[in-house]
Protein backbone atom coordinates (compact mmCIF):
# COMPACT_ATOMS: atom_id res chain seq x y z
CA UNK A 1 0.00 0.00 0.00
CA UNK A 2 2.72 2.35 1.03
CA UNK A 3 4.78 1.54 -2.01
CA UNK A 4 1.92 2.24 -4.41
CA UNK A 5 1.30 5.54 -2.65
CA UNK A 6 4.99 6.37 -3.01
CA UNK A 7 4.89 5.37 -6.64
CA UNK A 8 1.95 7.58 -7.52
CA UNK A 9 3.54 10.48 -5.63
CA UNK A 10 6.71 9.91 -7.64
CA UNK A 11 4.76 10.04 -10.90
CA UNK A 12 2.91 13.19 -9.85
CA UNK A 13 6.14 14.94 -8.92
CA UNK A 14 7.76 13.93 -12.22
CA UNK A 15 4.83 15.24 -14.21
CA UNK A 16 4.76 18.51 -12.28
CA UNK A 17 8.47 18.99 -12.89
CA UNK A 18 8.08 18.23 -16.57
CA UNK A 19 5.20 20.70 -16.87
CA UNK A 20 7.18 23.36 -14.99
CA UNK A 21 10.14 22.85 -17.28
CA UNK A 22 8.00 23.02 -20.41
CA UNK A 23 6.15 26.14 -19.30
CA UNK A 24 9.41 27.85 -18.33
CA UNK A 25 10.80 27.01 -21.75
CA UNK A 26 7.62 28.28 -23.39
CA UNK A 27 7.69 31.54 -21.42
CA UNK A 28 11.37 32.11 -22.16
CA UNK A 29 10.87 31.44 -25.85
CA UNK A 30 8.17 34.08 -25.97
CA UNK A 31 10.56 36.73 -24.71
CA UNK A 32 12.74 38.45 -27.23
CA UNK A 33 16.17 37.81 -25.80
CA UNK A 34 15.85 34.07 -26.10
CA UNK A 35 17.39 32.92 -29.40
CA UNK A 36 14.80 31.73 -31.88
CA UNK A 37 16.69 28.56 -32.73
CA UNK A 38 15.87 27.18 -29.30
CA UNK A 39 12.30 26.98 -30.57
CA UNK A 40 9.43 26.47 -28.15
CA UNK A 41 7.58 23.48 -26.71
CA UNK A 42 4.39 24.41 -28.52
CA UNK A 43 6.13 24.39 -31.89
CA UNK A 44 8.00 21.17 -31.14
CA UNK A 45 4.86 19.42 -29.93
CA UNK A 46 3.09 20.61 -33.03
CA UNK A 47 5.80 19.06 -35.16
CA UNK A 48 5.67 15.80 -33.24
CA UNK A 49 1.92 15.52 -33.72
CA UNK A 50 2.42 16.40 -37.38
CA UNK A 51 5.01 13.59 -37.57
CA UNK A 52 2.48 11.09 -36.42
CA UNK A 53 -0.47 12.53 -38.36
CA UNK A 54 1.30 12.43 -41.70
CA UNK A 55 3.05 9.21 -40.79
CA UNK A 56 6.33 10.38 -42.29
CA UNK A 57 8.19 9.53 -39.10
CA UNK A 58 7.17 5.88 -39.00
CA UNK A 59 9.70 4.58 -41.54
CA UNK A 60 12.46 6.39 -39.59
CA UNK A 61 11.29 4.97 -36.28
CA UNK A 62 10.90 1.54 -37.84
CA UNK A 63 14.38 1.37 -39.27
CA UNK A 64 15.98 2.80 -36.11
CA UNK A 65 14.12 0.36 -33.92
CA UNK A 66 15.00 -2.50 -36.25
CA UNK A 67 18.71 -1.70 -35.88
CA UNK A 68 18.62 -1.28 -32.13
CA UNK A 69 16.41 -4.26 -31.42
CA UNK A 70 18.37 -6.65 -33.62
CA UNK A 71 21.56 -5.40 -31.95
CA UNK A 72 20.05 -5.74 -28.51
CA UNK A 73 18.71 -9.24 -29.14
CA UNK A 74 22.11 -10.35 -30.41
CA UNK A 75 23.64 -8.95 -27.23
CA UNK A 76 21.08 -10.75 -25.10
CA UNK A 77 21.68 -14.00 -26.96
CA UNK A 78 25.49 -13.95 -27.03
CA UNK A 79 26.23 -11.82 -23.99
CA UNK A 80 23.98 -13.73 -21.64
CA UNK A 81 24.62 -17.12 -23.20
CA UNK A 82 28.38 -16.84 -23.22
CA UNK A 83 28.31 -15.13 -19.82
CA UNK A 84 26.47 -18.05 -18.26
CA UNK A 85 28.75 -20.60 -19.88
CA UNK A 86 31.87 -18.65 -18.89
CA UNK A 87 30.64 -18.30 -15.34
CA UNK A 88 29.57 -21.90 -14.96
CA UNK A 89 32.36 -23.79 -16.71
CA UNK A 90 35.70 -22.64 -15.37
CA UNK A 91 37.83 -23.41 -18.44
CA UNK A 92 35.51 -21.35 -20.64
CA UNK A 93 35.70 -18.55 -18.11
CA UNK A 94 39.48 -18.62 -18.18
CA UNK A 95 39.38 -18.64 -21.97
CA UNK A 96 37.28 -15.46 -22.07
CA UNK A 97 38.99 -13.51 -19.28
CA UNK A 98 41.82 -12.06 -21.40
CA UNK A 99 39.36 -11.22 -24.18
CA UNK A 100 37.32 -9.15 -21.76
CA UNK A 101 40.29 -7.35 -20.24
CA UNK A 102 41.72 -6.63 -23.68
CA UNK A 103 38.63 -5.57 -25.62
CA UNK A 104 36.50 -4.05 -22.88
CA UNK A 105 38.57 -0.83 -22.47
CA UNK A 106 38.33 -0.06 -26.20
CA UNK A 107 35.84 2.77 -26.70
CA UNK A 108 33.81 0.89 -29.31
CA UNK A 109 32.68 4.04 -31.03
CA UNK A 110 36.26 4.48 -32.24
CA UNK A 111 35.79 1.26 -34.21
CA UNK A 112 32.99 2.82 -36.24
CA UNK A 113 35.32 4.22 -38.94
CA UNK A 114 36.98 0.81 -39.15
CA UNK A 115 33.67 -0.97 -39.62
CA UNK A 116 32.54 1.67 -42.08
CA UNK A 117 35.49 0.89 -44.30
CA UNK A 118 34.99 -2.85 -44.01
CA UNK A 119 31.25 -3.12 -44.36
CA UNK A 120 30.25 0.20 -45.89
CA UNK A 121 27.36 2.39 -44.82
CA UNK A 122 25.05 -0.53 -44.15
CA UNK A 123 22.84 -1.83 -41.39
CA UNK A 124 25.52 -4.47 -40.83
CA UNK A 125 27.96 -1.78 -39.70
CA UNK A 126 25.44 -0.18 -37.37
CA UNK A 127 24.24 -3.41 -35.82
CA UNK A 128 27.83 -4.50 -35.37
CA UNK A 129 28.79 -1.30 -33.56
CA UNK A 130 25.68 -1.59 -31.37
CA UNK A 131 26.55 -5.19 -30.64
CA UNK A 132 30.21 -4.57 -29.78
CA UNK A 133 29.28 -1.66 -27.50
CA UNK A 134 26.54 -3.39 -25.57
CA UNK A 135 28.04 -6.89 -25.48
CA UNK A 136 30.58 -6.38 -22.71
CA UNK A 137 28.34 -4.82 -20.05
CA UNK A 138 25.87 -7.66 -20.57
CA UNK A 139 28.56 -10.35 -20.61
CA UNK A 140 30.32 -9.00 -17.52
CA UNK A 141 27.09 -8.58 -15.53
CA UNK A 142 26.04 -12.13 -16.38
CA UNK A 143 29.46 -13.50 -15.49
CA UNK A 144 29.38 -11.68 -12.15
CA UNK A 145 25.88 -12.94 -11.50
CA UNK A 146 26.79 -16.55 -12.18
CA UNK A 147 30.05 -16.41 -10.25
CA UNK A 148 28.27 -14.82 -7.29
CA UNK A 149 25.75 -17.64 -6.90
CA UNK A 150 25.73 -19.21 -3.49
CA UNK A 151 27.77 -22.41 -3.90
CA UNK A 152 25.37 -24.23 -1.59
CA UNK A 153 22.65 -24.11 -4.24
CA UNK A 154 24.96 -25.67 -6.79
CA UNK A 155 26.20 -28.32 -4.42
CA UNK A 156 22.74 -29.32 -3.29
CA UNK A 157 21.55 -29.53 -6.90
CA UNK A 158 24.55 -31.65 -7.74
CA UNK A 159 23.96 -33.75 -4.71
CA UNK A 160 20.39 -34.43 -5.72
CA UNK A 161 21.64 -35.70 -9.03
CA UNK A 162 20.78 -32.82 -11.33
CA UNK A 163 22.42 -32.97 -14.74
CA UNK A 164 24.63 -30.09 -15.89
CA UNK A 165 21.91 -28.87 -18.20
CA UNK A 166 19.27 -29.03 -15.52
CA UNK A 167 21.53 -27.15 -13.13
CA UNK A 168 22.06 -24.40 -15.68
CA UNK A 169 18.38 -24.09 -16.35
CA UNK A 170 16.91 -24.59 -12.88
CA UNK A 171 19.57 -23.13 -10.60
CA UNK A 172 22.09 -20.93 -12.38
CA UNK A 173 19.72 -19.01 -14.63
CA UNK A 174 17.16 -18.03 -11.97
CA UNK A 175 19.83 -17.20 -9.41
CA UNK A 176 21.79 -15.00 -11.80
CA UNK A 177 18.75 -13.37 -13.37
CA UNK A 178 18.68 -10.19 -11.23
CA UNK A 179 22.25 -9.40 -12.28
CA UNK A 180 21.49 -10.37 -15.86
CA UNK A 181 18.62 -7.90 -15.93
CA UNK A 182 20.95 -5.17 -14.64
CA UNK A 183 23.27 -5.96 -17.52
CA UNK A 184 20.40 -5.87 -20.00
CA UNK A 185 19.32 -2.45 -18.76
CA UNK A 186 22.77 -1.00 -19.27
CA UNK A 187 23.00 -2.71 -22.65
CA UNK A 188 19.63 -1.34 -23.72
CA UNK A 189 20.59 2.24 -22.87
CA UNK A 190 23.86 1.81 -24.78
CA UNK A 191 21.96 0.34 -27.71
CA UNK A 192 19.97 3.54 -28.13
CA UNK A 193 23.01 5.78 -27.79
CA UNK A 194 24.88 3.77 -30.38
CA UNK A 195 21.88 3.60 -32.71
CA UNK A 196 21.71 7.37 -32.66
CA UNK A 197 25.44 7.91 -33.09
CA UNK A 198 25.95 5.36 -35.83
CA UNK A 199 23.16 7.01 -37.77
CA UNK A 200 24.59 10.47 -37.19
CA UNK A 201 28.11 9.58 -38.28
CA UNK A 202 27.70 6.84 -40.78
CA UNK A 203 24.82 7.83 -42.95
CA UNK A 204 24.74 10.34 -45.71
CA UNK A 205 21.59 8.93 -47.20
CA UNK A 206 18.94 6.69 -45.80
CA UNK A 207 16.47 6.54 -43.01
CA UNK A 208 16.54 6.55 -39.26
CA UNK A 209 16.00 9.02 -36.45
CA UNK A 210 19.67 9.97 -36.21
CA UNK A 211 19.74 10.66 -39.92
CA UNK A 212 16.59 12.72 -39.55
CA UNK A 213 18.33 14.87 -36.93
CA UNK A 214 21.41 15.24 -39.11
CA UNK A 215 19.32 16.24 -42.09
CA UNK A 216 17.16 18.74 -40.17
CA UNK A 217 20.29 20.17 -38.55
CA UNK A 218 21.81 20.76 -41.97
CA UNK A 219 18.76 22.79 -42.97
CA UNK A 220 18.77 24.68 -39.68
CA UNK A 221 15.40 23.26 -38.64
CA UNK A 222 16.07 23.03 -34.92
CA UNK A 223 12.40 22.43 -34.23
CA UNK A 224 12.57 19.19 -36.19
CA UNK A 225 15.84 18.30 -34.46
CA UNK A 226 14.23 18.77 -31.07
CA UNK A 227 11.14 16.83 -32.09
CA UNK A 228 13.27 13.89 -33.28
CA UNK A 229 15.36 14.06 -30.09
CA UNK A 230 12.18 13.86 -28.04
CA UNK A 231 11.00 10.87 -30.08
CA UNK A 232 14.34 9.10 -29.43
CA UNK A 233 14.19 9.96 -25.74
CA UNK A 234 10.62 8.68 -25.51
CA UNK A 235 11.59 5.43 -27.24
CA UNK A 236 14.55 4.94 -24.90
CA UNK A 237 12.32 5.57 -21.91
CA UNK A 238 9.55 3.31 -23.23
CA UNK A 239 11.85 0.36 -23.85
CA UNK A 240 13.45 0.75 -20.45
CA UNK A 241 9.98 0.62 -18.90
CA UNK A 242 9.19 -2.49 -20.94
CA UNK A 243 12.34 -4.16 -19.65
CA UNK A 244 11.51 -3.21 -16.06
CA UNK A 245 7.98 -4.52 -16.55
CA UNK A 246 9.39 -7.78 -17.85
CA UNK A 247 11.71 -7.92 -14.90
CA UNK A 248 8.81 -7.52 -12.50
CA UNK A 249 7.03 -10.41 -14.19
CA UNK A 250 9.96 -12.76 -14.36
CA UNK A 251 11.53 -11.87 -11.06
CA UNK A 252 8.33 -11.82 -9.05
CA UNK A 253 10.08 -13.48 -6.11
CA UNK A 254 12.36 -10.47 -5.71
CA UNK A 255 9.60 -7.99 -5.00
CA UNK A 256 8.02 -9.86 -2.14
Amino acid sequence: MLSSFKKSRFIVISLVELLLFLSLWQLLSMTDWFPTYVSSPAVVLGIISEFFMTGEVFPHIGISLYRSIVGFLLVVLFGTGLGILAGFFQPIGRFFDPVVSFFNPIPKIALLPVFLVWFGVTDMTRILIIFTSAFFPCFIATLDGVRGINKLYLWSAENMGASKFKMLYRVVLPAALPKIFDGWRVALALTFVMMFSSEMIGSSTGKGLGFMILNADAYGRTDIVLAAVIVIAALGFLFDRLLIGLRGRVLWWQNR
Binding site: P98, W118, V193
Partner: protein, 248 residues
Amino acid sequence: MKAIKKFIVKYLALILIALLWQGFVLAELFPRQLFPGLGEILLVFVELLATSDLWTNMGVTIYRILIGFLLAAIVGIPIGIQMSRSSFIDDLMQPIFTAGYPIPRVALYPIFVLLFGLGSGSKIFTIFLECIFPIVVSTYYGAKSVNHLYVWSGQNMGATDRKLFWKVFLPGTMPSIFTGFRIALPIGVVIAVLTEMISSNNGIGYFLVYLSATLSQSKVLAVVIFISLFGYGLDRLLLYVRNRYVYW
Protein backbone atom coordinates in the same frame (compact mmCIF):
# COMPACT_ATOMS: atom_id res chain seq x y z
CA MET B 1 58.93 -24.37 -21.00
CA LYS B 2 56.30 -24.61 -18.34
CA ALA B 3 56.05 -20.85 -18.16
CA ILE B 4 55.52 -20.61 -21.91
CA LYS B 5 52.80 -23.22 -21.77
CA LYS B 6 51.12 -21.42 -18.94
CA PHE B 7 51.29 -18.18 -20.88
CA ILE B 8 49.76 -19.78 -23.95
CA VAL B 9 46.94 -21.34 -21.98
CA LYS B 10 46.19 -18.10 -20.20
CA TYR B 11 46.06 -15.96 -23.33
CA LEU B 12 44.76 -18.67 -25.65
CA ALA B 13 41.80 -16.61 -26.84
CA LEU B 14 43.89 -13.58 -27.74
CA ILE B 15 46.47 -15.71 -29.50
CA LEU B 16 43.74 -17.42 -31.51
CA ILE B 17 42.25 -14.06 -32.51
CA ALA B 18 45.67 -12.78 -33.56
CA LEU B 19 46.34 -15.94 -35.59
CA LEU B 20 42.95 -15.71 -37.23
CA TRP B 21 43.61 -12.09 -38.12
CA GLN B 22 46.99 -12.87 -39.62
CA GLY B 23 45.44 -15.82 -41.44
CA PHE B 24 42.97 -13.46 -43.08
CA VAL B 25 45.80 -11.14 -44.05
CA LEU B 26 47.92 -13.92 -45.51
CA ALA B 27 44.99 -15.38 -47.40
CA GLU B 28 44.54 -11.94 -48.99
CA LEU B 29 40.78 -12.18 -48.84
CA PHE B 30 40.66 -8.43 -48.49
CA PRO B 31 42.96 -5.80 -49.94
CA ARG B 32 45.96 -5.08 -47.72
CA GLN B 33 45.04 -1.45 -47.51
CA LEU B 34 41.74 -2.25 -45.84
CA PHE B 35 42.85 -5.17 -43.72
CA PRO B 36 46.43 -4.60 -42.59
CA GLY B 37 48.52 -7.12 -40.73
CA LEU B 38 49.09 -6.81 -37.01
CA GLY B 39 52.80 -6.12 -37.46
CA GLU B 40 52.05 -3.24 -39.78
CA ILE B 41 49.55 -1.78 -37.31
CA LEU B 42 52.12 -1.91 -34.54
CA LEU B 43 54.70 -0.27 -36.76
CA VAL B 44 52.29 2.51 -37.69
CA PHE B 45 51.38 2.87 -34.04
CA VAL B 46 54.99 3.49 -33.08
CA GLU B 47 55.40 5.92 -35.96
CA LEU B 48 52.24 7.70 -34.95
CA LEU B 49 53.51 8.25 -31.42
CA ALA B 50 56.26 10.41 -32.86
CA THR B 51 53.91 12.70 -34.79
CA SER B 52 52.60 15.92 -33.32
CA ASP B 53 49.16 15.47 -34.93
CA LEU B 54 48.28 12.73 -32.52
CA TRP B 55 49.39 14.57 -29.42
CA THR B 56 47.81 17.94 -30.20
CA ASN B 57 44.49 16.29 -31.00
CA MET B 58 44.73 14.07 -27.97
CA GLY B 59 45.51 17.07 -25.80
CA VAL B 60 42.30 18.76 -26.89
CA THR B 61 40.32 15.61 -26.19
CA ILE B 62 41.88 15.10 -22.77
CA TYR B 63 41.09 18.70 -21.88
CA ARG B 64 37.42 18.23 -22.82
CA ILE B 65 37.09 14.94 -20.97
CA LEU B 66 38.70 16.25 -17.81
CA ILE B 67 36.73 19.50 -17.66
CA GLY B 68 33.42 17.74 -18.37
CA PHE B 69 34.19 15.01 -15.87
CA LEU B 70 35.34 17.39 -13.14
CA LEU B 71 32.25 19.56 -13.57
CA ALA B 72 30.08 16.47 -13.31
CA ALA B 73 31.91 15.44 -10.13
CA ILE B 74 31.73 18.91 -8.56
CA VAL B 75 28.02 19.24 -9.27
CA GLY B 76 27.06 15.59 -8.95
CA ILE B 77 28.58 14.64 -5.59
CA PRO B 78 26.82 17.35 -3.53
CA ILE B 79 23.54 16.59 -5.31
CA GLY B 80 23.85 12.90 -4.51
CA ILE B 81 24.69 13.55 -0.87
CA GLN B 82 21.97 16.13 -0.37
CA MET B 83 19.46 13.77 -1.99
CA SER B 84 20.27 11.16 0.59
CA ARG B 85 19.88 13.65 3.44
CA SER B 86 16.74 15.59 2.70
CA SER B 87 13.59 13.86 1.52
CA PHE B 88 12.48 17.12 -0.12
CA ILE B 89 15.52 17.26 -2.39
CA ASP B 90 15.20 13.53 -2.91
CA ASP B 91 11.61 13.96 -4.13
CA LEU B 92 12.68 16.82 -6.33
CA MET B 93 15.69 15.18 -7.96
CA GLN B 94 14.72 11.52 -7.98
CA PRO B 95 12.45 11.78 -11.07
CA ILE B 96 15.18 13.54 -13.03
CA PHE B 97 17.75 10.91 -12.27
CA THR B 98 15.59 7.80 -12.46
CA ALA B 99 13.32 8.72 -15.32
CA GLY B 100 16.09 10.54 -17.16
CA TYR B 101 18.57 7.71 -16.87
CA PRO B 102 17.49 5.63 -19.89
CA ILE B 103 17.14 8.66 -22.15
CA PRO B 104 20.05 8.96 -24.60
CA ARG B 105 21.31 12.41 -23.70
CA VAL B 106 23.87 12.53 -26.50
CA ALA B 107 20.95 13.02 -28.87
CA LEU B 108 20.81 16.58 -27.59
CA TYR B 109 24.30 17.24 -28.91
CA PRO B 110 23.16 19.04 -32.10
CA ILE B 111 21.22 21.47 -29.90
CA PHE B 112 24.28 22.08 -27.73
CA VAL B 113 26.28 22.83 -30.82
CA LEU B 114 23.85 25.63 -31.57
CA LEU B 115 23.94 26.87 -27.99
CA PHE B 116 27.66 26.61 -27.26
CA GLY B 117 29.22 26.54 -30.69
CA LEU B 118 31.28 23.96 -32.50
CA GLY B 119 34.25 24.29 -30.15
CA SER B 120 34.89 22.65 -26.83
CA GLY B 121 31.80 24.06 -25.08
CA SER B 122 29.24 21.77 -26.66
CA LYS B 123 31.43 18.72 -26.16
CA ILE B 124 32.19 19.53 -22.54
CA PHE B 125 28.52 20.04 -21.82
CA THR B 126 27.54 16.72 -23.41
CA ILE B 127 30.29 14.93 -21.47
CA PHE B 128 29.14 16.65 -18.29
CA LEU B 129 25.56 15.59 -18.86
CA GLU B 130 26.46 11.96 -19.50
CA CYS B 131 28.94 11.73 -16.62
CA ILE B 132 26.75 13.29 -13.96
CA PHE B 133 24.13 10.54 -13.98
CA PRO B 134 26.29 7.62 -12.81
CA ILE B 135 28.09 9.90 -10.33
CA VAL B 136 24.87 11.16 -8.72
CA VAL B 137 23.29 7.71 -8.61
CA SER B 138 26.22 5.95 -7.00
CA THR B 139 26.89 8.85 -4.60
CA TYR B 140 23.23 8.72 -3.59
CA TYR B 141 23.24 5.02 -2.81
CA GLY B 142 26.62 5.31 -1.10
CA ALA B 143 25.51 8.20 1.11
CA LYS B 144 22.30 6.35 1.97
CA SER B 145 24.34 3.56 3.45
CA VAL B 146 26.56 5.79 5.58
CA ASN B 147 26.17 4.48 9.09
CA HIS B 148 23.65 6.60 10.98
CA LEU B 149 25.69 6.30 14.14
CA TYR B 150 28.44 8.39 12.57
CA VAL B 151 25.96 11.07 11.56
CA TRP B 152 24.32 11.09 14.96
CA SER B 153 27.57 11.26 16.84
CA GLY B 154 28.75 14.02 14.55
CA GLN B 155 25.56 15.96 15.18
CA ASN B 156 25.79 15.21 18.86
CA MET B 157 29.23 16.74 19.04
CA GLY B 158 27.84 19.86 17.46
CA ALA B 159 29.00 19.54 13.87
CA THR B 160 27.42 22.04 11.52
CA ASP B 161 25.87 20.93 8.25
CA ARG B 162 28.91 22.06 6.34
CA LYS B 163 31.20 20.19 8.67
CA LEU B 164 29.00 17.12 8.50
CA PHE B 165 29.30 17.18 4.71
CA TRP B 166 33.09 17.44 4.65
CA LYS B 167 33.92 15.29 7.64
CA VAL B 168 31.27 12.58 7.66
CA PHE B 169 29.36 12.22 4.40
CA LEU B 170 32.12 12.85 1.91
CA PRO B 171 34.64 10.40 3.43
CA GLY B 172 31.91 7.88 4.17
CA THR B 173 30.69 7.95 0.59
CA MET B 174 34.09 8.08 -1.07
CA PRO B 175 34.23 4.37 -2.05
CA SER B 176 30.86 4.61 -3.80
CA ILE B 177 31.85 7.88 -5.41
CA PHE B 178 34.86 6.17 -6.92
CA THR B 179 32.60 3.41 -8.22
CA GLY B 180 30.61 6.14 -9.94
CA PHE B 181 33.81 7.69 -11.28
CA ARG B 182 34.87 4.38 -12.77
CA ILE B 183 31.58 4.16 -14.63
CA ALA B 184 31.54 7.81 -15.65
CA LEU B 185 35.08 8.22 -16.94
CA PRO B 186 34.91 5.62 -19.76
CA ILE B 187 31.56 7.14 -20.75
CA GLY B 188 33.30 10.52 -20.87
CA VAL B 189 35.95 9.12 -23.22
CA VAL B 190 33.32 7.57 -25.48
CA ILE B 191 31.24 10.75 -25.60
CA ALA B 192 34.29 12.90 -26.31
CA VAL B 193 35.32 10.71 -29.25
CA LEU B 194 31.73 10.45 -30.44
CA THR B 195 30.95 14.16 -30.40
CA GLU B 196 34.24 14.94 -32.08
CA MET B 197 33.40 12.43 -34.77
CA ILE B 198 30.01 14.00 -35.40
CA SER B 199 31.28 17.52 -35.85
CA SER B 200 34.60 19.02 -34.95
CA ASN B 201 37.81 20.32 -36.39
CA ASN B 202 40.13 19.00 -33.75
CA GLY B 203 40.35 16.28 -31.16
CA ILE B 204 41.08 12.59 -31.46
CA GLY B 205 37.61 11.74 -32.80
CA TYR B 206 38.11 14.20 -35.63
CA PHE B 207 41.56 12.73 -36.23
CA LEU B 208 39.99 9.27 -36.58
CA VAL B 209 37.43 10.44 -39.12
CA TYR B 210 40.10 12.34 -41.00
CA LEU B 211 42.37 9.28 -41.19
CA SER B 212 39.46 7.11 -42.17
CA ALA B 213 38.62 9.46 -45.02
CA THR B 214 42.14 9.00 -46.36
CA LEU B 215 41.50 5.24 -46.28
CA SER B 216 44.56 4.45 -44.21
CA GLN B 217 43.03 1.68 -42.19
CA SER B 218 46.26 0.79 -40.39
CA LYS B 219 46.51 4.33 -39.03
CA VAL B 220 42.88 4.26 -37.91
CA LEU B 221 43.46 0.99 -36.08
CA ALA B 222 46.62 2.39 -34.51
CA VAL B 223 44.64 5.38 -33.20
CA VAL B 224 41.99 3.00 -31.87
CA ILE B 225 44.73 1.17 -29.98
CA PHE B 226 46.03 4.48 -28.69
CA ILE B 227 42.59 5.55 -27.41
CA SER B 228 42.07 2.16 -25.78
CA LEU B 229 45.40 2.39 -24.01
CA PHE B 230 44.48 5.88 -22.90
CA GLY B 231 41.13 4.71 -21.52
CA TYR B 232 42.81 1.79 -19.80
CA GLY B 233 45.45 4.06 -18.30
CA LEU B 234 42.80 6.47 -17.04
CA ASP B 235 41.00 3.64 -15.27
CA ARG B 236 44.27 2.42 -13.72
CA LEU B 237 45.03 5.96 -12.56
CA LEU B 238 41.62 6.18 -10.91
CA LEU B 239 42.18 2.85 -9.16
CA TYR B 240 45.60 4.03 -8.02
CA VAL B 241 44.21 7.27 -6.61
CA ARG B 242 41.47 5.36 -4.85
CA ASN B 243 43.82 2.86 -3.28
CA ARG B 244 46.24 5.57 -2.30
CA TYR B 245 43.88 8.12 -0.80
CA VAL B 246 40.72 6.20 0.07
CA TYR B 247 42.52 3.73 2.24
CA TRP B 248 39.69 3.18 4.70
